[in-house]
């Protein structure tokens, strides 16, 4: 295997080491410092991909992240990574890549038939056809289009790599490590400023690595390496190569992706593939350089036709030439540099074709005034056809053509907020305009300062300005300071199949058609033709399209509009935005104090928000969850059960105005609640709809403990702080959440008192500690605890709380004390069954659309005081005669189920939305009653007890006759609570 196009000496590659790699199953060799593209070119491979629509053969156009063509599927197995730019993929030993978007082999792609049909497949053709017959779009046309479209393939295996996120802070962020960025970093770094210097390349230096001219006495690359070495010794400077700043967000926040492991075969154990850094900076110097733009001419997309600067990069940095015979087509002086550099390396320059009459001349090779009008070569360039200024035509044999249409400053990040670039006639390109992201200065070629000396100067000055440096900027080396000499020239007249957007196959013809059909604004052009919508985001194509549209419209380019850029700067792995939040780590887990113990019992857990709660506790021999739940319910109602209820939100409310404060947040009254008593509270939103419910226990005159539902703990706390700080700022009330501070267990059932009497140190007889009592107590001989005699199950019940660290010990103690009563742990399912049996509303009923009236608690809304929501709860629409009311539902046939989500219809009459009477909110099987029961809402429901109705669930194909009953299925008088 030879690297036939490797230049004998020079370049920033390590020839002492050889890397082997495979592309489309064939083995090749390259060196450290190569990209996949440079290594393939070195091996004489120009054909690397196929275009999107016409499946035209394609090779690299560029040597950087703006690459539209040389996209490959990198790596294999679960790490397969589609659409990877060969031009930025750092070569490593064992690299594996395949070409993509082809049917058959890369050389014989069957879908290249599309190229033959291109006359039918013009811009927007699909909007005009495929409409008949109507059903055929989805059955026939769309599947064909979908399968032909797309580029690379995902493996559809879970991404095996991990991604990190991180946060960095600095005074000055410098984006781009070319001459401007390095001068800026040197200036700010030496001044002691906290600097981050980020560059997307694996080698800092930017164009300095691609050029041959010197900086002072050094080559550009050596100078850059020296500066980097100095910067790396400065503790206040963080040099980040392989780091792309992807977006400029509000107030000096930048997103940056560091590719930690993409240049190795597999990340080291525990190490991320990439890191998403959120960089907070006061000031930014954008030194992102510029991108060369092509010229459109007939068949300008063959492998071997590249940007002139890319040919130079391959030769100077990677020591590679795309072919032994190279031609140049240019409208500016920079194109000639490529010819000179390649010539100096012994590459044959077939000719330099310049559109300008005054092009610089040389004796080293032919310089012709004229244009490239067409090209030849099936899978790679072999000839270019010239039309010279003197009117003659000529065929030129060459395997590579460098094209230079001038340079576009990389203004991308200046546009991420409100900035819109402005036209600069001198360099015939857009430069940064007004409304830059706050704190941003642009330097170097990104600002339109195209010479090396200019970049150094403006970089240093930008840094000086950014950090308010009063002293001098560092001495900068002598460097080339050539002016930009460019004649705007966008496309060769008469060309048609001349590519603007090489990836999306948008040609000059398409832009003309777009204009002809009235799609003339930049946005319409882009959307109609798909120009600039490919993975390169139009970095090399937008300007050409814009220029042609301007010409067609008889306007100047800035009159037609500008192209703006959106984040990310280059396409970015979705995985890195996800960071560690994957799989089980997607959201944090919250474990209850009895979790370890419940695990020991074999509990089945369920997600409730971020909490994991025991759902039921299966016992040996139980084969269905219902068996376990029924047993838990019966045991609790029959003797005693215990359930971890720590997850309910708890808020400590203290202060002399605490009671008055509760009066505001609850619709019912709290001012007169006695110390040592607990009361149910219903909280409304200001719009009069029920927000949450819970209890407030008055532990002292100026101290309440408020509970919320599990789901609403945070929003309710936020709301309470709003009421305290924003509405009643002079109330003496202090709030703090204590949800996790206390392990709290419900002990319920007729024997609950007997169990707790063995644990609680105080008298908890019915007389001493009646229903709704609360107190600070001690347990087990002195541990501080709280006891509340409240009940969700409808049984004699208590909730007992100890500091969380003791929660594990307490549940074990309760189980021990309850052993003689066969105390049964129960989970959320049994809890749910018992609350439905008791008719207590929960999340399914408090669904954000229900009022106190709907819940049958209308009378609780006190009209004698000001409370949140009381006024708007009086609106007519919330107080209609046929309002929904909470009701109970039982099936007429005891064996039938009453599914939640089913709708209530009259026994006879149509079943449709117009005749909908209500719906089932919660349903369960009641082991106490021996049949299914449900809670629901029914129009005017409180007046319809005993009515027979049809319960329909067409979705689950259920229809059952039911009877409307009271929601209180068990102990409606509440005798058990007070026992």
């Amino acid at each position: 295997m030879t690297q036939k196009n490797r230049i004998a000496t020079g370049g920033q590659i390590d020839r002492s080491t050889t890397h082997s790699f495979t592309f489309d199953g064939k083995s090749y060799q390259g060196h450290p410092g190569d990209t996949l593209a440079s290594a393939l070119l070195a091996n004489g491979v120009r054909l690397m991909g196929r275009s999107f629509k016409y499946h035209r053969p394609r090779g690299p156009l560029t040597a950087g992240s703006e690459e539209p063509n040389a996209l490959v599927e990198l790596r294999d197995g679960a790490r397969q990574e589609p659409n990877t730019r060969a031009t930025t993929t750092e070569l490593y030993d064992g690299l594996f890549a395949k070409s993509q978007n082809r049917l058959g082999s890369l050389k014989f792609d069957l879908l290249s038939i599309n190229d033959r049909l291109s006359n039918f497949l013009t811009a927007g053709f699909y909007y005009k056809t495929f409409m008949w017959p109507a059903a055929f779009w989805e059955k026939l046309y769309e599947p064909i289009i979908r399968h032909a479209a797309g580029l690379g393939s995902l493996s559809l295996k879970d991404d095996p790599d991990v991604y990190d996120k991180g946060f960095l802070h600095c005074d000055l962020l410098i984006i781009g490590g070319g001459p401007a960025g390095l001068a800026a970093a040197l200036t700010a770094g030496r001044a002691g400023c906290d600097v981050i210097l980020a560059d997307e390349d694996f080698r800092m230096g930017g164009r300095l690595n691609s050029e041959t001219f010197s900086l002072g006495d050094d080559s550009g690359a050596d100078w850059a390496a020296g500066i980097i070495a100095e910067l790396e010794t400065l503790p206040n400077v963080r040099v980040m190569s392989r780091t792309t700043v992807i977006g400029a967000f509000d107030h000096g926040i930048y997103g940056a992706v560091e590719r930690v492991s993409d240049h190795v075969h597999t990340p080291d154990a525990g190490k991320p593939r990439q890191i998403l850094w959120r960089i907070y900076t006061k000031r930014t110097v954008l030194a992102a350089g510029a991108t060369e733009r092509p010229i459109a001419f007939e068949n300008n997309d063959r492998p071997g036709i590249m940007l002139a600067s890319a040919l130079r990069t391959y030769a100077n940095r990677f020591s590679v030439t795309a072919d032994k015979r190279v031609a140049i087509f240019t409208n500016n002086d920079d194109g000639h540099r490529t010819a000179a550099d390649l010539h100096a390396k012994g590459i044959k320059i077939a000719a330099v074709v310049d559109v300008r009459p005054d092009a610089p001349k040389t004796y080293d090779y032919e310089v012709l005034e004229g244009q490239v009008v067409d090209t030849r070569g099936r899978l790679g360039l072999s000839f270019v056809e010239l039309k010279l200024a003197n009117g003659s035509t000529r065929m030129l044999e060459c395997g590579a053509l460098g094209v230079s249409g001038g340079w576009n400053p990389n203004v991308n990040l200046t546009c991420h907020q409100r900035g819109r670039p402005v036209w600069n006639e001198a360099i015939a390109a857009f430069v940064p305009g007004e409304h830059l992201p706050a704190g941003m200065t642009v330097a170097g070629a990104a600002a339109g300062d195209m010479s090396t000396a200019g970049a150094l100067r403006s970089g240093a000055q930008a840094a000086k300005l950014a950090i308010d440096l009063t002293g001098d900027i560092p001495d900068l080396p002598q460097a080339e300071d050539a002016p930009v000499n460019v004649k705007p020239f966008w496309y060769v007249e008469g060309c048609s199949r001349a590519w603007l957007d090489q990836q999306n196959d948008v040609t000059v013809k398409d832009v003309k058609l777009s204009h002809q059909e009235g799609f003339r604004s930049v946005e319409h052009l882009k959307r109609y033709t798909t120009l600039g919508m490919a993975t390169d985001q139009g970095k090399t194509s937008n300007m050409g399209g814009l220029a042609i549209m301007a010409e067609l419209a008889g306007k100047t380019i800035p009159e037609v509009g500008t192209t703006i850029f959106r984040p990310p700067y280059t396409p970015t792995a979705i995985g890195v935005f996800g960071g560690r939040h994957r799989g089980q780590d997607f959201h944090p887990k919250r474990l209850t104090p009895s979790h370890l113990w419940a695990e020991e019992q074999g509990a089945v857990f369920v997600e409730v928000g971020n909490w994991l709660r025991a759902q039921w506790f299966p016992r040996a021999g139980e084969t269905t969850w219902r068996e376990s739940v029924d047993r838990e319910v019966l045991a609790t109602r029959g003797s005693v059960g215990v359930c971890d209820v720590t997850t309910l939100g708890k808020v400590d409310v203290q202060g002399t105005d605490a009671a008055e404060f509760l009066n505001k947040i609850y619709c019912n009254g709290f001012a007169k609640l006695d110390v040592g008593k607990t009361r149910y509270g219903l909280m409304l939103r200001e719009d009069g709809i029920a927000k949450d419910d819970g209890t407030a226990a008055r532990l002292a005159e100026d101290h309440f403990v408020v509970t919320t539902t599990t789901a609403n703990a945070l929003p309710v706390y936020r709301h309470m702080e709003f009421v305290r700080q924003c509405l009643f700022p002079d109330m003496d009330v202090q709030l703090i959440s204590t949800t996790e501070a206390w392990a709290q267990y419900a002990v319920a059932g007729p024997n609950s008192r007997k169990v707790l009497e063995k644990i609680v140190d105080q008298d908890i007889s019915n007389e001493a500690f009646p229903f709704m009592a609360c107190a600070n107590i001690t347990v087990c001989g002195g541990l501080r605890a709280r006891l509340f005699r409240i009940s969700f199950s409808g049984e004699l019940a208590y909730e007992i709380a100890v500091p969380t660290a003791y929660g594990d010990a307490l549940i074990r103690k309760i189980m021990e004390a309850g052993a003689e009563y066969d105390i049964t742990p129960y989970g959320t399912e049994a809890l749910g069954v018992m609350r439905i049996e008791k008719g207590h509303a929960a999340g399914n009923e408090l669904n954000g659309t229900t009022t106190a009236q709907n819940l049958g608690m209308g009378r609780m809304v006190s009209k004698k005081k000001d409370s949140i929501g009381s006024i708007l709860s009086e609106r007519e629409g919330l107080n209609r005669d046929d309002d929904l009311r909470q009701i109970g539902i039982k099936p007429v046939d005891p064996a039938a189920s009453v599914p939640a989500g089913a709708h209530l219809m009259s026994l006879t009459g149509p079943v449709d939305a117009a005749h909908d009477q209500g719906y089932v909110t919660s349903a369960c099987y009641s082991p106490n009653l021996g049949h299914s029961i449900a809670l629901g809402f029914l129009k005017n429901g409180s007046e319809r007890m005993g009515e027979r109705m049809r319960l329909v669930s067409p979705l689950t194909k259920v229809e059952t006759e039911v009877e409307i009953v009271s929601a209180h299925f068990i102990d409606p008088e509440g005798g058990r609570l007070r026992a």
Binding site: D164, K165, G270, G655, E740, C780, A805, G807, D808
Partner: protein, 187 residues
């Protein structure tokens, strides 16, 4: 005396320690915690007691280390006081006595898990966890911030390479996992 034994936030009978070359992550199970919030109109009196207790009133974003109690600012007119659990199991009760009438005191010992991150890699690890400007943070700066979606306090302790992370106890496992992965990433 009662015979109930505590378990640590990570669920062990003893606190857990994980050692890496560049950092040690220790579960600190030895803290008693209580919050103190000044009553409206009694701020001066509360501050005076706070001054007596800690030697200084922690300013916004700051901690004050004292013996045996230390404290940090949680919010306007609100502080968290920490003390060794061994000697101050009843910290909240003690503080209630001290701040009677001028502050609301709430026991917080059970609500939190504490991890001490010590080692040369502390700053690198912290940068992978949360948005605090760790390299610029001064000793005894205390911030509430977000780590893996969890609201946590991070306090830069007196040792140059010591960060204390106080997070919600119920999510101790998640928080610990986040600390461990950040440590592995930066090792």
């Amino acid at each position: 005396m009662h015979d109930l034994k505590t378990i640590t936030a990570l669920g062990g009978s003893e606190p857990r320690t994980d050692t890496f070359p560049h950092i040690t992550i220790s579960e600190n199970d030895g803290l008693a915690l209580a919050s103190v919030a000044a009553r409206l109109g009694s701020e001066d009196e509360c501050n005076k007691h706070m001054q007596d207790l800690l030697g200084a009133v922690p300013a916004p974003g700051q901690a004050v280390l004292g013996e045996p109690e230390s404290g940090f600012w949680m919010g306007p007119d609100q502080w968290m006081i920490e003390a060794p659990k061994e000697t101050h199991e009843l910290l909240a009760d003690d503080l209630k006595d001290r701040f009677t009438g001028c502050a609301s005191v709430t026991e917080q010992s059970g609500a939190w898990v504490c991890f001490d991150l010590v080692g040369a890699g502390m700053e690198d690890v912290t940068e992978r966890l949360c948005a605090v400007p760790i390299r610029k943070m001064q000793t005894l700066e205390a911030r509430r911030t977000i780590i893996h979606q969890l609201g946590c306090f991070v306090i830069r302790h007196t040792g140059a390479d010591h960060l204390r992370v106080i997070g919600p106890r119920a999510s101790a496992g998640t928080l610990h996992h986040a600390l461990m992965t950040a440590a592995e990433s930066t090792a």
